[in-house]
């Protein structure tokens, strides 16, 4: 995929739909295309979040390391959705390890550059933050559902 392909994918992403043209341009200038093969690690749990990404194609898994149980996938991120939101939230450390499970195309924004742009440009910040927040909120809601363990084996097979 060439640069125009990246730009095309960027502009087609639901994540930026509705942004003002100037804001889009500002973001597009920061966007870098990244391709990951299955198993490639995009972010490491607890390490500084180096970038915020939008999945364009493929799928990445958010994994947590659990002592004694290995690496547990808690969520997969599908095309159109973001990963690395902690790039925008102090202390800017990744809350999970992000691993490609398929060949994945993503657009990524360097964390430092993105934060600088948002600091500078209140309009961009006002447009972008709610988008990230919505993504995080949906994730939180889904996490609660998972917490409920609705398929739980609360089976009283003894009496």
């Amino acid at each position: 995929m060439d640069v125009s392909g990246t730009i095309g994918a960027f502009h087609g992403s639901p994540f930026v739909a509705g942004l003002a043209p100037s804001e889009r341009r500002r973001l597009a200038a920061l966007a870098v295309r990244r391709t990951a093969e299955p198993g490639d690690v995009l972010l490491h749990e607890d390490a500084p979040t180096t970038h915020l990404g939008i999945v364009v194609d493929g799928r990445v898994a958010l994994r947590l390391q659990v002592p004694g149980r290995g690496s547990i996938t808690v969520l997969t991120v599908e095309p159109g959705d973001v990963f690395g939101w902690s790039a925008l939230v102090p202390p800017y450390r990744s809350t999970s390890t992000v691993v490609a499970v398929e060949r994945t195309e993503a657009i990524v924004f360097d964390a430092v550059a993105l934060r600088a742009a948002l600091d500078e440009d209140d309009g961009l910040a006002a447009s972008l933050y709610p988008r990230v927040l919505r993504s995080v909120a949906r994730r939180l809601e889904a996490t609660r559902m998972q917490l409920l363990d609705v398929f739980g084996r609360e089976v009283d097979a003894a009496w």
Binding site: P38, S71, T73, A142, R153, E154, V155
Partner: protein, 655 residues
Amino acid sequence: MVTAAPPSFLPRAGLDRLIALLRDDGRRVIGPTVVDGAVAYEEIASTADLPLGWSDEQSPGRYRLVESPGPGRERAFGYTVGPASWKRYTFPPRVDIGRGRDADGTVTYEPVAPEPDALAFLGVRGCELAALRIQDRVLRDGPVADPDYVARRRAALVIAVECTVAASTCFCTSMGTGPEIARESADLVLTELDDGYLLRSGTDDGRRLEARLDPRPATDDEVAHARASVADVRRRIGDPVAVQGLPGRLQARLDHPRWAEIAERCLGCANCTLVCPTCFCTSVTQRSDLDSRDSVAVRGWDSCFSGDFAKVAGGSFRWRRQDRYRQWLTHKFSTWVDQFGAFGCVGCGRCVTWCPVGIDVREELAVIAPPAARRPLPMAAAAAPGDFTPARVERTWPETPDTTTLLLTDVDPAIAHGAPGQFVMVTRPGLPAVPISVSRYHPEGDAIELSIRAAGPATATLSSLAPGTPLGVRGPLGRGWPLEAAEGRDVIVVSGGIGLSPLRPAIDALLEDRPRYGTVRLYHGARTPNDRPHKDDLATWAARPDVEAGETVDRAGTGWTGPVGVVTHLFDAGRWDARDAVAFVCGPERMMQATVSTLEDRGLRPERIHVSMERHMECGIGLCGHCQLGRFFVCRDGPVFSRAELGDAFILEGV
């Protein structure tokens, strides 16, 4: 219409002749008598057994027998109603309803045919006659008649008595059940006067009986006096409950704060339901020998107030007292009307008197339900259950760590030709009958598949049956998935965990007749990759070019490369238009609620979203009462419902 004969007059002494005549006819006469400080209905031999000279004082939570005031007022019917009702005789507290036996590898089931004694009920009041009529509607005249009830009811002659006294807890006037009694509503109707009884007969049996008593015609004075006493009762009771529009008003107040306040007083003891002459909720339990080859199914009175009543795998869905009280009150005064076309309450006041803490329905209704509009009646699909028929376990295989599929063969052809989403009752001698949705039909081989989650001992036992084991199966039961509503439309099938099993026959049908439908989208969510049932089918469906399939798990190790997240996560990625689609959804309640809400957000109309409430099923007939969900009996009216039909019952806690 035959012109009714004028009332006749039977002197006081004639009552003994009446009892003697009935006994001569071979009937056991059941009438009022004083037992343990209250009027009970027991077998009587003569008027000496009647509560002569006794009256009762009743108020919420209090009952006392008192001697009637004034000399010469030795009335036999000077009390109102005691704690016991005629239900004890028409719908006894415990009856054997079926026997199962496993002999030499053959299982047999036979219903127990009741052989009731010929009875005569003496002293049935207006409210109690109404209760018998309601029981007739529920247990005799509905889509499924209860053979035990029908036989017992037929065996009883009814001699009614108009009330000339009222307790403070009576409200028959509001419910339209008394105190006056129309002559045609009983075989014989008495109205007690100081020196005898006014007599009216309403049936041929009653007329013959009246003739044998040889009464003289009543005088105009006597008739007027009788009318006046009954009218006086009506005046004293007044009209304490505003029934006009009550069902709808109650349904609109399912979230009223008063429910929680009542729960602070309510003991949840079930006394109200057990003294109620119309409550018919039961539980069937198995009584088996220690060798468990023979077992008897026993049906006993149960109550929506008891802890086990609303229990499903994983807990009780009406675990709070407020849920149970609301269930009871709304059933009596609202959903009963939807189900049976009449109130479930006759205004006898027993639930008020016999509530140990004196909760008064009249007061609670007045607080909770001010006037509002009526709701439409729901549909009620009738299941016509046959008896248990034998089948055999051909083989079994594990689906998930806790779920096993049984392939049953030699199944009754009617069952093997059942519809997607229907269920069967399955049992073995010694085991309770368990409702299980059919997870695949093999009509050509008279076979079905049942996928059973070992949620308790009985299902664990069923799961571990060896090939060759005989079983009893009854069905097909219930209303399944409305495939006809999906014709020409896109179909979205969303399943969670073992909720895929009841949907599998629907998917089979969709794919077998693929051109009839638009885009078919299948989404399945499971707890972990290991907990996915029907894995081969999931793979086959995903590989079909004419199906869009997506799968997700709640959590996974590194071996799973598919999506992880709740099932609605799968829709987030898709950009399809749902407005013209039909959705079939089955899974845990919270998963269904989240799915339905996401689908509604996408523009799907509630009428086109169908959910299976199969977890609520119990007896497979819809008469034991366990499966009530708002206006519905899930076993009878469901288990599949549209979101629109369920209304608040789908989302409110504890309905």
